[in-house]
């Protein structure tokens, strides 16, 4: 842009802005009045939520070993125990849109879309948006693309957040399938203890994501127990699936027993244990 054009643009903008200031008013007390009212309201809402949260939930004690959930959730859950994963890993509500992306793109090949590519595109677009949308007219009727993006992005984020918030949780009870022989395997008890159904679907329930569907065994490994053992132990964690490395909190024998169950779910009959 030539120096003349830069100056023309500045003069035009300054003229417009001076005109709009003419119609305006001093910051104090006019704009500050609005600010004060809304700020007070916001602080009151925060105090109100804190009161509601605390008044309807209860502490963990002898009578309530798992705490008491209130209208706004629990005060706290059981203390973190790195050796036992008995609960589903769920983020704060404002990260549920990313969590839902993990549930949508859950195969190892697509996963990078959810973990890296889409969030990076969103962040870059957010930062550089003013340098992409450079039109001078700010009226909505003259910004069809802006309005379309401004309405569709929140709609997508809200839809992802809602979908993420209603994701099923860890399965109730200890029966992972309808086959009593599979349920009786030591690996089935380990699957319950490690909270696998917080992310994976099993024949009798669990979360349909972010982990892969295991209701008919593993699509990736089938009855390849060695492959399953490596994957559960550390390969899944190393390849960036978000899955913890369960080899850190389970012995090789335990990992082998878990792999045996996953392989058995494929054939719906007990597969021999491979070590």
């Amino acid at each position: 842009m030539s120096a003349r054009k830069v100056i023309n643009r500045r003069v035009r903008y300054e003229t417009e802005y001076a005109a709009s200031k003419q119609e305006g008013h001093p910051f104090f007390p006019y704009a500050m009045f609005h600010d004060t009212v809304v700020n007070l309201l916001i602080v009151l809402m925060i105090v109100g939520m804190a009161v509601l949260w605390h008044a309807t939930a209860g502490p963990i004690n002898a009578a309530h070993p798992n705490g008491q959930n209130g209208w706004l959730g629990a005060l706290y859950e059981q203390k973190a125990n790195p050796a036992v994963q008995a609960t589903e890993p769920r983020p704060e509500w404002y990260f549920l849109f990313l969590f839902e992306l993990l549930r949508i793109f859950k195969t190892p090949a697509e996963l990078i879309l959810a973990t890296i590519i889409i969030p990076t595109i969103w962040m870059v677009l957010l930062i550089v948006w003013p340098f992409l949308d450079r039109g001078r007219d700010r009226r909505l009727s003259r910004r069809p693309w802006g309005v379309a993006i401004g309405l569709s992005v929140p709609a997508v984020l809200i839809a992802l957040t809602i979908a993420g918030s209603i994701a099923p949780g860890v399965l109730a009870g200890t029966a992972i399938s309808a086959n009593p022989q599979i349920n009786a395997l030591p690996g089935s008890a380990l699957i319950v203890k490690n909270g696998c159904s917080g992310c994976h679907q099993f024949p009798s329930g669990g979360a349909n994501g972010p982990g892969g569907d295991l209701s008919t065994g593993s699509a990736k490994f089938g009855t390849d127990q060695k492959g399953l053992q490596d994957w559960i132990s550390h390969v899944a964690a190393d390849s960036g699936t978000g899955m913890p490395a369960f080899g850190k909190t389970n012995s090789p024998e335990q990992i082998a027993e878990i792999a045996q169950v996953i392989a058995s779910l494929k054939t719906n009959s007990v597969e021999p244990l491979q070590k």
């Binding site: 305006g24 600010d35 925060i46 105090v47 804190a50 948006w129 007219d137």
Partner: protein, 254 residues
């Protein structure tokens, strides 16, 4: 001989003059408070609400830090102490917890207001840019604060989040090692998250808020869009002696 009572108005004026001469604050405040702004309404209050919530978060955070113990053995116990036993500790923690949610909601609403007003357009591109950095850093506050409760949900959600961070190309392994403060999730991790959550990220947010507000006051707020002026004949011609003439023929970004 009785000492004459000082005139309170005189004392106040002298005090103001004393400060004004040394700092210039009185002029600064007067200019800030009585600057003319375009027509504004309720929609223009979201930014100041965010500042208020940030100050509230900083205050409740400092008070929580006086009792909170950032260690794997002490964190959970101190959270339970704050919530169940400390006088009004539940209110302190509740306000911090729900203030965080409120801040995220207000960030989205503020961003929406700025977006639909077209307020990020010329010459306010940098105001938007600093705002989006504040937005991203606020989400990082949520991520690092979540772990500090050190309960089951917080722990495993953070394990997953850090594993995912580790998959980013080039920087990923470095970031996840930096967050964990070691090869695995352990005792050092909680100190690392605590330092990020209460020193590094809020410091960066505070600095960015300063720049953001500087730009807001310098450039003024944006009124609801109206029809722009027709292409005018520029009233200011660049002259050889004008400072603009030293500007290169092409100006990057304009």
């Amino acid at each position: 001989m009785p000492i004459p009572a000082p005139d309170p108005k005189q004392v106040a004026l002298q005090a103001e003059d004393w400060i004004e001469y040394r700092t210039g604050f009185a002029t600064l405040i007067r200019k800030f408070m009585f600057r003319k702004v375009p027509p504004t309404g309720w929609m223009h209050t979201l930014g100041s609400s965010l500042l208020t919530v940030f100050i509230l978060q900083a205050t409740t955070g400092m008070l929580l830090a006086m009792t909170y113990d950032p260690s794997p053995n002490g964190a959970y116990q101190s959270i339970r102490y704050i919530t169940d036993e400390q006088t009004l500790g539940w209110l302190l923690r509740g306000m911090h917890k729900w203030g965080a949610s409120m801040m995220v909601i207000l960030l989205f609403l503020h961003m929406g207001r700025v977006f639909f007003y077209g307020a990020y357009k010329y010459p306010r591109e940098l105001t938007w840019l600093t705002g989006s950095l504040i937005f991203i850093l606020t989400m990082m506050m949520g991520l690092t604060g979540y772990l500090l409760v050190w309960d089951e949900r917080a722990y495993w959600a953070s394990v997953v989040a850090v594993n995912i961070n580790g998959t980013a190309p080039v920087l990923g392994p470095f970031i996840s090692k930096f967050l964990l403060a070691g090869p695995v999730f352990g005792a050092q991790t909680i100190s690392r998250f605590y330092a990020l959550h209460m020193l590094m990220i809020p410091g960066a947010i505070g600095a960015l808020i300063f720049v953001h507000l500087w730009l807001v006051v310098k450039l003024g707020v944006t009124p609801w869009p109206s029809r722009p002026l027709p292409e005018p004949e520029p009233q200011l011609q660049p002259q050889a002696s004008a400072p603009h003439s030293r500007m290169p023929e092409t100006v990057a970004g304009e």
